[in-house]
């Protein structure tokens, strides 16, 4: 190929006015450049600070996990009766966080919600990284983690099959499916944007790497048609997946007979809670990103408002679930169920339960009704942080407080997290941050091809260009 440098005209053919979900003064080229310059330009100094924090916490994960693999799960604070501690709490928390990304990518696509365009790329990336963090814990919480592959139906010499009727095995299939489908969906959407980066990259290494990753995408109309069909089909497939994965995770608890666990409310309760914490994470990632990378024209105030509304809606479902759970415990007249609920309200972990109520319900549900709160980046970020902490506490209360006091008082116990528990929890946050910072530096954080389409539709609606 001749090494001719084409003359790139910077004058756009038209400039679109402000749309519902995009700032004014944009063209196909400007939305492309705003996003690709982040990936192709110089690394901002703040990025180094951010990834440093991520890497330091990742080292804590390294330390904690190595200790556990070498010495045993006793390094966690688990005991009998509380055989599941932070590890399972973190697993459910991370998987729950992942759900919003798939919801935004898949469900909002099916509902033709244009506001998903600028947030779906990094939300789906968030999902993949959250599932990666979650996947550590089922492995680590095992007494014999080197035998994890016994959960898979592989042809073995012992003639043994996994117990397909167990939710723990269902988890293996659900979480692996979730990770694979999310990764495939994300990559499918990324390919056209990687082609843009390949075409715009100046350095040889960048061109080659993006070129390989984009697989030679050239924007052929036939390929775009298949791409659109594939995106819709994947969205249709991924939507029930969102619901089913956290349902299967909730089955880990519901099939047990422990009071406080054996409840049919768990599947919808968990899914609503998952979407709640997931949107909280999308907000916690999106607000700093839009500020530091100057993407306010793409992740607009209307986006913040919509995400705040979704946070409010799912938070209301979670609030209702708490209420009905408490009501049913007493209405059931089952003394064990009643005691399990009383233990949450007044037992040794009661301060955590009331902190949970404050951070998950009282603070967000009071303030998110206000338009000013939902459209203020700082206020919305604080609400999201509160919800995020609250959801972790909810998982803790469900797992630990139900286990510590079940049927027999002689079997009652307490759970105290060890330093290893904290290292692994904070370390998993470090892993997530590290992955996300790498993603934000090298990959397009907003779906450029979809943004161009949004510019096109905005211009059509405003009459700047002729409608087809």
């Amino acid at each position: 190929m001749d090494p001719v440098d084409p003359v790139i005209e910077d004058k756009p053919v038209f400039i679109a006015p402000a749309g519902d979900f995009i700032g004014p003064g944009h063209s196909y080229g400007s939305v492309t450049d705003a996003v690709s310059n982040i990936a192709l330009g110089k690394t901002p100094k703040g990025w180094f600070g951010g990834i440093a924090i991520g890497l330091i916490l990742l080292m804590a994960l390294n330390y904690g996990l190595t200790y556990v693999f070498f010495v045993g799960v006793g390094k966690f604070g688990i005991n009998i009766p509380v055989a599941w501690g932070f590890a399972i709490v973190n697993f459910v928390w991370w998987i729950g966080i992942g759900h919003a990304g798939t919801l935004i990518s898949a469900f909002l696509l099916l509902m033709r919600q244009k506001w998903r365009t600028s947030i779906n790329r990094f939300a789906e990336a968030m999902t993949i990284f959250a599932v990666m963090c979650a996947g550590i814990f089922p492995l680590v919480h095992m007494g014999r983690p080197w035998l994890f592959f016994w959960l898979l139906p592989y042809p073995d010499t012992m003639g043994m099959w996994p117990q397909f009727r167990s939710p723990l095995v269902w988890d293996v299939f659900a979480v692996s499916t979730y990770f694979t489908v999310s990764l495939l969906f994300w990559y499918t959407g990324l390919v056209p944007d990687l082609a843009t980066l390949r075409d715009k990259a100046k350095g040889k290494a960048a061109k080659v790497i993006y070129g390989i990753l984009s697989m030679g995408w050239r924007g052929s109309a036939k390929h775009w048609k298949r791409h659109e069909v594939a995106s819709l089909l994947l969205a249709g497939i991924a939507t029930p997946l969102v619901l089913s994965v956290h349902t299967v995770v909730s089955f880990d608890f519901t099939v047990a007979i422990v009071p406080g666990w054996h409840s049919t409310i768990f599947p919808p309760y968990f899914v609503a809670g998952a979407i709640y914490s997931g949107f909280a994470m999308v907000i916690m990632l999106g607000i700093p990103m839009r500020k530091w990378y100057h993407l306010e024209d793409f992740i607009t105030v209307r986006h913040l408002n919509n995400m705040g509304k979704l946070l409010l809606a799912t938070g209301m479902i979670v609030t209702y679930s708490y209420g009905i759970e408490t009501f049913m415990a007493f209405y059931s007249a089952d003394k064990f169920e009643r005691y399990a609920m009383m233990n949450r309200l007044t037992g040794p972990y009661a301060p955590l339960y009331w902190l949970l109520v404050a951070t998950n319900i009282v603070i967000p549900m009071t303030f998110l009704w206000s338009h000013r709160v939902r459209t203020s980046p700082v206020a919305l970020f604080l609400m999201a942080t509160s919800a995020q902490i609250g959801m972790w506490l909810e998982r803790f209360v469900i797992v630990v407080v139900s286990l510590q006091r079940d049927y027999m008082p002689s079997a009652w116990g307490m759970y105290y997290p060890t330093h290893t528990d904290w290292e692994v929890l904070l370390g998993s946050i470090g892993l997530f941050l590290t992955l996300f910072y790498i993603f934000a530096r090298f990959l397009p954080t907003i779906a450029m091809s979809e943004m161009r389409d949004l510019v096109h539709k905005t211009a059509e609606e405003a009459g700047v260009i002729a409608a087809e």
């Binding site: 440098d5 659900a174 694979t180 715009k200 697989m215 052929s220 594939a230 260009i465």
Partner: protein
């Protein structure tokens, strides 16, 4: 100078309206081996060049294989191969087989969707003649292209060039193989 064989003739447009009209007129003029290129999917464009896709059928088949496979994966050991009488519970406890069957349906449908899409697209394709046109880089940013391939029955370099020039392009290029 030795003449390089020609892949086709490509016209560059700067808006979707012109590209769509050009594609429709090219199709009407009888050209069948053509392709259009854009930085985002343009509505009506693939139909204008006469294209339909098999992908939904592939995904359906993939999903059905996942469903049947997933169910049989559990049915075989629990009912046929190694039935274990546990408290008299049924061997073919199909409700407990549903979660895994459901997940494998979704997994196989999604995998067949993505791999099917790339296979039908013939991607990865590291080299393609259209990249020989320097300005084609803009196809991934904000320009639109229509290419009529030389293997079309009605192809004649000069005729196609003048046909495309009449459709209001920004420029027309001959694409070497």
């Amino acid at each position: 100078m030795e003449k390089r064989p020609i892949y086709g003739v490509m016209a560059e447009f700067d808006n979707t309206h012109d590209l769509l009209k050009a594609a429709e007129q090219a199709h009407e003029a009888g050209y069948r081996k053509l392709d259009a290129f854009s930085p985002f999917p343009v509505e009506g464009l693939s139909e204008a060049i006469g294209f339909r896709t098999w992908l939904p059928a592939i995904v359906l088949v993939g999903g059905l294989i996942g469903c049947a496979g997933g169910f049989f994966l559990q049915y075989y050991p629990n009912v046929l191969g190694f039935p274990l009488d546990i408290g008299g519970k049924p061997f073919d406890s199909w409700p407990s087989f549903i979660p895994i069957t459901f997940e494998l349906t979704i997994l196989c449908a999604a995998v067949s969707c993505v791999f099917g899409m790339f296979a039908l697209d013939r991607l990865p394709t590291p080299y393609h003649p259209v990249f020989n046109v320097p300005r084609f880089e803009l196809a991934s940013r904000d320009r639109f292209f229509l290419c009529i391939q030389s293997k079309d029955a009605k192809f004649n370099v000069e005729e196609v060039k003048s046909f495309l020039l009449a459709l209001n392009p920004r420029e027309v290029n001959v694409v070497p193989v």
